[in-house]
Subunit: 586 residues, 2 copies
């Protein structure tokens, strides 16, 4: 037996017990006749003591040569510690070692196995198995497990059945790119890895499963942005015989359950709801962070028709009141203006109003606006004495997006984004379609199976951009953690949707024929939602970097630096698959 | 709201309640002025009554036109049923319908949605969403969910952490064929889908996760045999600082937990253990079904050196005593001899001994053996009066395999394979290596990371076939449901193993370099096991066909008949992947 106890469990009440422990050498302190070793495992750290007066010389000798990360087994007696360490649960005791057994040696790790490591991102990914030994990463993975268990328990108790859907499915050119898998037995043909189990969960509803969920890997061959992974995990859910209200209630229950179970945070009452239009108007963003205010004030009425042409020509003039920063120096403000003019934000400039402590205003456009005008701005943006009003103008969508970026930046600077505060929000009534400038056509904003709101189907022909969908997102602290919709369950309406999305009947049939056919055999009304497990876990865990919550993440080029994948494969393998690599030089 | 109750929950205590129900039309009985409809959902069946005397004529009219599998919603009052149906939980009541709402029509299904359907295998796979509506399949999927939940709860309680490992990994020519995934961003390179997360779970042990599990999809591009799937699910587990005894104890606890939770079957005491050698000798099989006897008796000593040359020239003469079939007619026995001579079994012939009820014997080789001889055979095979001893001879391995097939066949015929009886067994001490005639080399019987038993490493050079491994299988009712081993955790021993498996140091480094490197940074002793989730579930569920426990299985050509995958992909997709399809005519 390698151990009688873990390194996290011995207490003062265990004193005088003979124990066997195993683990990694975290740290060795050598005083010559006394050697202390911190022995680490997943459960904690226990101090070992090798005492020259009480132990044979060879043992002290052996202990003094232990290196960092050596794997050892020791036998010894639990004794009271001279200088107790109140910072660790085992801090009252230490082990007087009588036997030391080196189970495995270790080279010196390429970075320190400490909470704050000196290892860079790439090095940590290459030696991920060492990175996982560090408390923060290990605790993140354990936290992720707890999230998954809590999700499964909640949904199981609500009569949901976890059903495993296939990974080797069929490619669908619509949407993001698929990863494909050549079939050896069906030459020239390919499977695709699922971007989500969308069609399968709908088929399970047709199949009468009533309530389905699955924590499932999904795949998307996109050009990776920061913090995107080619494979990611989804909490995928679907229910039959429900309306939007049923779905929102059940899944806000899930989020509340997770917050209560994992964070001890109890959300009272319903999670607030906001329409997409309102979110865009108030926050310039369909996933607003409502932990703090700074709602947009639209100033067109009070700021236009004066002599300030920049505003007069703008489609939208909007501002936010940044709390308590009227003391920003001219230099601070110039820097802020530079910040909003960065290409990533893209504003042309920024007008500001200092709300003085005495109730007067001082703005960068005093030439055009008097105190009375500015007082109206303050009223509309909700500014109080001490605040700084920041105003942007121009094209409506651009202003909203820029002002949203500014709002988030100021919240960050002011420490308003407290990761231990949780402010969930439903955003509802999303547009059904989204116009794409590049291809000059409409795309499904959610996906092609989303149902339009009742009575809006007629608008599809005349004002497609205005049709609202029965679609909803669950937003947490400015992040979309889940999204879903009421589905179309009627063949004819699905045909109409495909037509509006530019599918010919043949294309629709080729790609989704099985779904359209299934709908002819008694499809029930159904709806669903999917949560991004990686994102949800990281936000609940108080961080925004999903890689820190994934055991073996890939880098931004989609590479696994540890196993060095992807890699070339044997010619024989290619031939068996009837494939040739054909790289065109550019 | 689509429903106030499901179709499985109304009871006599609900009489007089106004309810709303939704579901599928299972059955319509039309008596003109009275129409009964069986309304079905996942939870059960509720009888609806449309009564011409108590309801408007239009309602009766509408109800009488309902077709099978129509999706409807009804409102009505719960009333006491005239002729109660004790076979269903809702059999005391029916719903007097006041409002009928057709939610969706249905074409006539291609097969009946009944427990015993008229649909063939292919048709059922093509319309799997309809097949899932049938009670047996639906109950199987719900059962599978319960198995998964019970596994997760047991292992979580034992401090195991479920860690998600990547699906896009690296191809390893060793073992079965990989499915590969071309990388668009890394041209000419491929990911592979995991055959199991073996190396990742070992790296998690190096990473100090201590106890890992995962219910995870695995992929194997093999020529499919009956009841094999290209993608399958594994309960994958690994532990650090353990010896074989720790693993066996913990995981027999898991099986006992599943049997108790899901089947109400309580296994007393330890699960029996048998060495591989003993299993082969007694049952000719490394996964013996021990629900019944018929252990092999080796008859060389008592049957050779007489004048029967067939036996004299045989490496092994072995027999089983088939209970209670001494009454088989000559014709029955001839048929049985034909059966063992089928190419699938491959015996050349069979000698039999009737154990007469009076204690005498009558055999097909009476010419060579007297009563005394045959009494010895009976003693060795454990035959009693009334039994039939069946004896095969020839090459040892062949005889064992043939006699094992015969034993299973006779057990099947005699009804000894009761699916509701559960007889688990550990088979231990497997050989480390397995000789392959085709390639004239040894392969790892389990996998290249399995540790040889202590003190046997030396045998590797001289008698590699005799080296035993610290490997174990958990067998249930004649099926291997799980298998695992103590792993090598030492770089040098792993190098030695790779050498013996015919890897050059370069090959070993190219494929497993990251693992060998990881072992240099303090790898702990570790061991693991993996269970076939599909197989385990089906056996616990009392069936042996895994397809019946998979929501969307593929057929024997690896095709998903429902979505028609795999399929060709667009030329543009291929070009983006720098690939050309290159099918060679044969």
């Amino acid at each position: 037996m390698y151990r009688t106890h873990t390194n996290g469990e011995l207490r003062a009440s265990d004193i005088d017990k003979e124990v066997t422990l195993s683990g990694w050498v975290q740290h060795v302190r050598n005083k010559g006749f006394l050697v202390w070793v911190d022995l680490r495992d997943r459960y904690g750290i226990t101090q070992l003591i090798f005492d020259g007066e009480r132990s044979p010389k060879e043992l002290i000798e052996k202990a003094s040569h232990l290196g960092r990360e050596y794997v050892i087994q020791v036998k010894g007696k639990v004794i009271e510690r001279q200088s107790k360490n109140p910072n660790i649960p085992t801090g009252d005791i230490e082990i007087l070692v009588s036997e030391l057994n080196i189970l495995n040696e270790s080279k010196t790790p390429p970075f320190t196995i400490e909470d704050k490591t000196d290892g860079g991102e790439e090095l940590r990914l290459k030696y991920r198995y060492l990175d996982i030994r560090r408390n923060p990463i290990r605790e993140n993975l354990i936290f992720r497990h707890k999230v998954a268990m809590a999700v499964r328990n909640y949904l199981s108790n609500e009569d949901f059945i976890e059903v495993e859907t296939p990974y080797l499915i069929k490619s669908t050119p619509e949407g993001a790119r698929d990863f494909v898998v050549p079939s050896r037995m069906n030459k020239g043909q390919f499977y695709a890895l699922p971007q989500s189990p969308q069609t399968f969960k709908q088929l399970l509803m047709v199949g009468g499963m009533d309530k389905y969920f699955q924590i499932v890997r999904c795949f998307r061959d996109e050009d990776l942005r920061a913090d995107r992974q080619p494979e990611f995990t989804q909490i995928d859910c679907e229910m039959a015989f429900v309306e939007q209200e049923d779905v929102l209630e059940l899944f806000e229950g899930l989020l509340k359950h997770l917050l209560a179970e994992l964070k001890g945070v109890h959300i009272e009452g319903n999670i607030p709801r906001m329409t997409y239009d309102e979110a865009m108007q108030k926050y310039g963003n369909d996933k607003p962070d409502i932990r703090f205010g700074m709602e947009f004030g639209e100033l067109n009425e009070v700021a236009q028709h004066k002599d300030f042409n920049v505003f007069n020509q703008a489609e939208l003039v909007a501002g936010i009141a940044v709390p308590g920063v009227n003391s920003y120096s001219r230099k601070d403000i110039d820097k802020l203006i530079d910040w909003v003019r960065r290409p990533q934000v893209g504003a042309k400039g920024m007008v500001y109003v200092r709300c003085n402590d005495d109730g007067t205003f001082r703005s960068s456009v005093d030439k055009f606006y008097d105190q009375e005008d500015l007082a109206k701005w303050a009223e509309i943006t909700g500014a109080k004495p001490g605040d700084l009003i920041c105003v942007l103008s121009g094209n409506k969508n651009e202003v909203r997006s820029q002002l949203s970026a500014l709002r988030m930046e100021m919240a960050e600077r002011l420490g308003l984004r407290n990761p231990e505060e949780f402010a969930p929000l439903w955003v509802i009534d999303f547009p059904l379609l989204e116009w794409d400038e590049d291809t000059q056509r409409y795309y499904a904003m959610h996906h092609p199976f989303t149902a339009p709101k009742k009575g809006q189907l007629e608008l599809l022909d005349t004002k497609p951009g205005e049709v609202k969908a029965n679609a909803y997102d669950l937003v947490l602290n400015g992040n979309e953690i889940g999204g879903g919709s009421i589905r179309i369950h009627d063949t004819q309406m699905q045909d109409t949707m495909f037509k509006h999305l530019g599918f010919t009947p043949e294309e629709a049939k080729k790609q989704f024929g099985f779904l359209l056919e299934a709908f002819q055999y008694g499809a029930p009304p159904h709806a669903g939602i999917a949560f991004g497990m990686d994102r949800l876990t990281s936000i609940l865990g108080g961080e925004e970097t999903i890689r820190e919550f994934i055991a073996f993440p890939k880098n931004n080029m989609g590479r696994d630096l540890m196993i060095d994948a992807p890699a070339t494969i044997d010619l024989a393998q290619l031939q068996e698959l009837s494939l040739k690599v054909d790289i065109k030089e550019k």
